[in-house]
Each structure stands twice: as structure tokens, then as C-alpha cells.
């Protein structure tokens, strides 16, 4: 497969080439946005993400072969206007044990099957500062490595590490997970490209 960076380079003079970037990554970007904000907003914002990406393709760092961090960064930025909405939905989930982003017409039982543990998790997630929630969800849901998150958010890797460890601590407390025990969990994703 031609690396994303070369496709994006080619799109500087042949803009139609950019469609390949869409075809490769739309599903992942939509999935991430849907998980954060629900299907309707994801439909709109995923489309917007690729328009913003196309418009700013000349600023792409061509030393990065994989465009995913860049695209997830744009998606995260585009989703910022909806931070309050995200928070409201999480609070509603915590309160009612029903996830408001799920389609009411499928999987009603699963919607109502929110354990206490999960409700506490959702409550803690709603309480995170936006920058920590972004970092955490890029790690857990978008499955980016630390250096990729640093690229996506335009921050140093060290900041990623400290935000993530603060966020994890804030989640562990209401869940009653012992911090010492969790520390054994290797925070491993430092590897990969940097």
C-alpha cells in the first residue's frame, strides 16, 4: 500500500488523490466520533473532519507515513464544540443507567444493563478535564500510541504521559481500583514510531 504521506503529497497537485485517504480511514474516524458523541453528530463531524483535512493537506508533516494521528487530531478538534454535549450525555448515562447515544430501537436490554461499576466509570469520565479525556480516549478508543497522541494533539510526549497518568488516577479512585496494583500494568505504548 502506498503510504498515506505519499497520497497526501500527490494530492497537492492532483487533489482527487485525497479520496484514497478518505477510503482508508473514514470508518475509524467515524467510529471514534460515534463512540464519543453518538451517531448523528458523528455523521456530521466525520464528514467535516475530512473536509478540514483536505483543506489543510498542505500542512501535513510528510515524515509521518500514517495519517491516522493527524486525522484523529482533526476529529478531536472538530468535536471540541460538542464537549458540553458529550459531558451531558455521559452524566445522563451515569444517572439513568441508560446510554443516550445508543439507538433506542436496538439492543434495549443492553442499554439498561449498566452495572454500578460502569456507571461510576462513566461518571468519572464525565468529570475529566477535556484535555485529559481527549488524551485518554485517543489512547483507549482510537488506540494511538503515546507518540501518535503527541502528534495528534500537537503536544510533547511527556505531556501525553502525564495527562494519561492523571486521567487514569481519576478513573481508578471511584472504581476502587488500587493504584499500586494498577501500576503493575505496563504503560507500554511508548514504542512505535516517534
Amino acid at each position: 500500500m502506498i503510504p498515506d504521506s505519499e497520497v497526501i503529497s500527490a494530492s497537492a497537485t492532483a487533489p482527487a488523490e485525497f479520496a484514497a485517504v478518505f477510503d482508508r480511514h473514514f470508518g475509524a474516524i467515524h467510529g471514534y466520533l460515534q463512540r464519543r458523541l453518538g451517531r448523528d453528530l458523528a455523521d456530521e463531524l466525520a464528514s467535516q473532519t475530512f473536509l478540514v483535512a483536505f483543506d489543510s493537506r498542505s500542512r501535513y508533516d510528510h515524515s509521518r507515513a500514517d495519517a491516522r494521528p493527524w486525522l484523529f487530531g482533526i476529529a478531536t478538534n472538530v468535536a471540541h464544540r460538542h464537549h458540553r454535549q458529550e459531558q451531558r450525555q455521559l452524566r445522563a448515562y451515569e444517572r439513568n443507567a441508560v446510554d443516550p447515544i445508543l439507538d433506542p430501537f436496538d439492543g434495549v436490554e443492553e442499554r439498561a444493563d449498566a452495572s454500578n461499576l460502569r456507571r461510576r466509570l462513566v461518571g468519572a469520565l464525565a468529570g475529566l478535564p477535556g484535555e485529559e479525556r481527549d488524551t485518554l480516549l485517543l489512547y483507549a478508543w482510537a488506540e494511538l500510541s503515546y507518540p501518535e497522541i503527541a502528534d495528534a494533539l500537537g503536544i510533547p510526549v511527556g505531556t501525553v504521559r502525564s495527562r494519561l497518568s492523571r486521567a487514569r488516577a481519576r478513573l481508578r479512585e471511584p472504581l476502587g481500583i488500587d493504584g499500586a496494583e494498577a501500576e503493575h500494568e505496563p504503560i507500554s505504548s511508548d514504542g512505535g514510531k516517534s
Binding site: A12, P15, H30, Q34, R39, S47, S58, N77, R118, V122
Partner: protein, 420 residues
């Protein structure tokens, strides 16, 4: 099980995007790509979605003062009379101009300068919380454009643009951007040179020379290539698009000016400068619904359309009255034999023709364009709706006809074969 495992289970297994969502998003992207490749079109300057906001800062153009002085002194009837008098004089000049009649293998070359609003940066602080309006910067990105559009329907053209230095719509926005550490804006000096797959130049021989008949065709959006949303404002813009073309027969250009004189709501601005600083006569239409004034600047001596300008007509969330949000100056137009030196590979090569039909009938409304992907090409004709489309054609033919429908039977019924 630690907190990350729990988090990874949360909302796991959601269904992927619906196919119609993905195809609508792809069509939107292809539409954006194509609109970049097409010659500067007036309506593409306007923000298309909720994306663009401008901080509310005072910024008034001299041209607005000109509007006030003309309409302020003259009564409504008087203004219209003056407008009709000016436009009919220009029509007389137009009717005496020599027009070129292009051959099928020639290209329409145009050179212009244009700019449209683009939201290019976010304040770093907005990564942590929702952006305030004042933290997004909209800048006018000027471009120098050249395009070569083939007169036959079978070849690619070429479009070349050089990005200029972005211009802030106000000093206050510029200061906010500096205070935020001057994050990168559009890159000045960037050259884009690509093959063009847009429409075909207007065929002037087919157009009526009676102003009322011409206006009815434009209003009904029945001229191939003169398409757009409904509304009087758009009709004014479409007439401006047609007036740009000096190659159109003199009688047609005269009829366009006469038709403009009869359009309701058109105002005379008097003497103004075009965006390239050339003196001319301005006429305008205020689109109150969108809050935008469309202005055309013409040269009464030659009947040429010199340029266009879009500005806000009222102060509000988007900025102060008079802020320019887009402009174009048409510098040169001629009929040429080739796509010029240094053209990208593929420019001037022949390519398949796509005919997009409104209904499943060969006598229905049709848009003729060029493209290798018939379905995508026709989807752009109905952005947002993404109807089911069926491609049909004759064996060995370069023409693919695309009809709305969900069954391949439509091809057989029309005596065509389904295209793979």
C-alpha cells in the same frame, strides 16, 4: 481488570457508519475537491456549513459608503431608472463587441485573482474546551488562478493556482491570532497545477438573444452549466457568471445586460473600484436571507465584467457590515489552442463523458460532464441527497448515461446496457 480495560468495553461494538452516511461524506469531499479544480465560481466563496465565523469587529468598506450615497439621495424609482439607463448603455456597447467563436478543439483560457473566506486555525486554548467565536480565525485566502477549459466535452483541462498571503478580515482578529502565538495559516506561494474535470464552457450559439427569454431560462436553471439553487440572488450571480465570458456572442451579452436591468432588487452603486483596483461601475443585489451583498463591477467602455465582491450587509455574529468575505477580479480571457507549457500529465487528454439525467428517461433534463466515475460524478449534481443511480451505456461508446433508480432494468428499457 483495570480502568483501561473497563473503558475499552464501554460502547464497544457500535455499528460502523451507514453506507449512505459514508457515500454522502465522500460525495461532500469529492465536491470540495472538484470545486477547487473548477474555475472560480462565485457561490463557492460563501461558507457552506456552520464552519466559518468571524469575530464581530468594525470594518467598513468605501464601497458601502457609495451605496448609501446613491440610494440615500435618489428615490427608489429614480435609482431603478438610473440602473436601467446604465445597463442598457452597457448592453449597446456589448452588442458592438467582436466575439471570438471557438473551435471544438480549442480551450477557454482565463486568468483571475480571487479570494474566499477560510477558517484556518484554532487557538491552542480551544483544545481544552469549546472554542469561542473569537478563537477561530477566518482569513481571506487570495489566489492567482489560470484555467484552460476545453470546448469539446471530451478532454481534460488544466487549472493552476498560486496561493497568496492570507488576509485577516479585521485587525482585531489579527491581533488575537498574534497573541495566540501565530499558529500556521495557509501557506503563501503554494502552487497547485492539476488537470480539470469540471464542466464545459457555455455554448453561446444555443442561447436566446431576447432578454426576457434569456432571463426565463436562467430563472428556470435550464441552461446546461448554469445551475444553482433557486432564488433571485442566485439568478443575479448566475448572470454574472455568464457575463464574465467575452467569447459569448455579442447579442447574448447585450441581452444579459438588458435582462439584468429588469431584475427586481438590483441596485446601482455608481463608480467603484474592482478588487484589482480598476475603476468601473458597480451594481449589486442584497441577499437578505444570507446577509450577503453580491456586487458586480463592469467596465462601461468595453462591457467587460471586471470583477465581483461579496460583503456582509448587516453587523452580527459573523462580523460588521461591509466586511468583504470574497472577491474576484477577471484579468484576462482568450480562446487558445493548448493547455500551455508545463501542464501536468493528463491535461488535454480525452476522457469519457457522463450524462446525468433527472429522470429515467432519455428526454429528461440532462447535465453533461466528464469523468471516469459516472456515479460519483452524478452524485455531485445532487449533493446531500445521494439518490440511487444506475449507469447505462452502449458498448464501445465513451458516453455513460446515469439515471436515478434502483434497478438495472432501466438500462434495458432505454435500449442501453448496464455499465459495470
Amino acid at each position: 481488570m483495570n480502568e483501561i480495560d473497563l473503558l475499552r468495553e464501554l460502547r464497544a461494538g457500535l455499528p460502523g457508519p451507514r453506507p449512505e452516511t459514508e457515500s454522502a461524506a465522500r460525495a461532500a469531499l469529492v465536491w470540495r475537491v472538484e470545486s477547487l479544480s473548477a474555475p472560480a465560481r462565485r457561490r463557492q466563496w460563501l461558507p457552506t456549513s456552520r464552519g466559518v465565523r468571524i469575530a464581530a469587529i468594525g470594518f467598513a468598506l468605501a464601497v458601502i459608503a457609495a451605496v448609501v450615497s446613491v440610494t440615500g439621495v435618489a428615490g427608489r424609482g429614480e435609482t431603478e431608472t438610473a440602473l436601467a439607463r446604465v445597463l442598457n448603455q452597457v448592453a449597446d456597447v456589448a452588442s458592438e463587441q467582436q466575439s471570438q467563436s471557438p473551435g471544438p478543439h480549442q480551450f477557454l483560457y482565463t486568468r483571475s485573482r480571487s479570494a474566499y473566506l477560510s477558517t484556518v486555525a484554532f487557538a491552542p486554548g480551544c483544545e481544552e474546551r469549546p472554542c469561542e467565536a473569537s478563537e477561530e480565525w477566518s482569513v481571506l485566502v487570495p489566489r492567482r488562478n489560470e484555467s484552460w477549459v476545453p470546448f469539446d466535452g471530451f478532454r481534460f483541462g488544466r487549472v493552476r493556482s498560486v496561493t497568496g498571503k492570507p488576509e485577516f478580515v479585521s485587525e482585531v482578529q489579527r491581533a488575537a491570532w498574534v497573541a495566540a502565538g501565530s499558529p500556521p495559516l495557509a501557506r503563501a506561494g503554494q502552487v497547485e497545477d492539476s488537470t480539470l474535470t469540471g464542466g464545459v464552457p457555455l455554448d453561446g450559439e444555443d442561447l436566446p438573444t431576447d432578454p426576457a427569454a434569456l432571463r426565463r431560462l436562467v430563472e428556470a436553471r435550464e441552461i446546461p452549466g448554469v445551475e444553482g439553487p433557486p432564488g433571485e440572488a442566485e439568478t443575479f450571480v448566475l448572470i454574472g457568471d455568464m457575463l464574465r465570458h467575452a467569447y459569448l456572442p455579442a447579442s447574448v451579452r447585450a441581452a444579459l445586460y438588458e435582462a439584468t436591468a429588469e431584475l427586481p432588487g438590483v441596485e446601482l452603486l455608481g463608480a467603484v473600484e474592482d478588487p484589482a483596483g480598476r475603476p468601473g461601475t458597480g451594481i449589486a443585489y442584497a441577499d437578505r436571507k444570507r446577509g450577503v451583498r453580491h456586487e458586480l463591477i463592469l467596465d462601461p467602455e468595453t462591457s467587460a465584467l471586471l470583477g465581483e465582491r461579496d460583503s456582509l450587509i448587516r453587523s452580527g455574529a459573523h462580523g460588521f457590515e461591509g466586511t468583504t468575505i470574497g472577491y474576484a477580479a477577471y484579468l484576462e480571457e482568450k480562446v487558445v489552442d493548448s493547455v500551455g507549457a508545463g501542464a501536468p500529465r493528463g491535461a488535454a487528454a480525452t476522457m469519457p463523458v457522463v450524462r446525468c439525467y433527472d429522470r429515467a428517461s432519455l428526454s429528461a433534463g440532462v447535465t453533461v460532464t466528464r469523468g471516469n466515475e459516472p456515479i460519483l460524478t452524478c452524485q455531485m449534481k445532487w449533493p446531500g441527497e445521494a439518490p440511487n443511480l444506475v449507469p447505462c451505456g452502449r458498448e464501445g461508446s465513451k458516453v455513460t448515461s446515469v439515471f436515478p433508480g434502483s434497478s438495472p432494468a432501466v438500462c434495458r428499457r432505454l435500449g442501453l446496457q448496464l455499465r459495470p
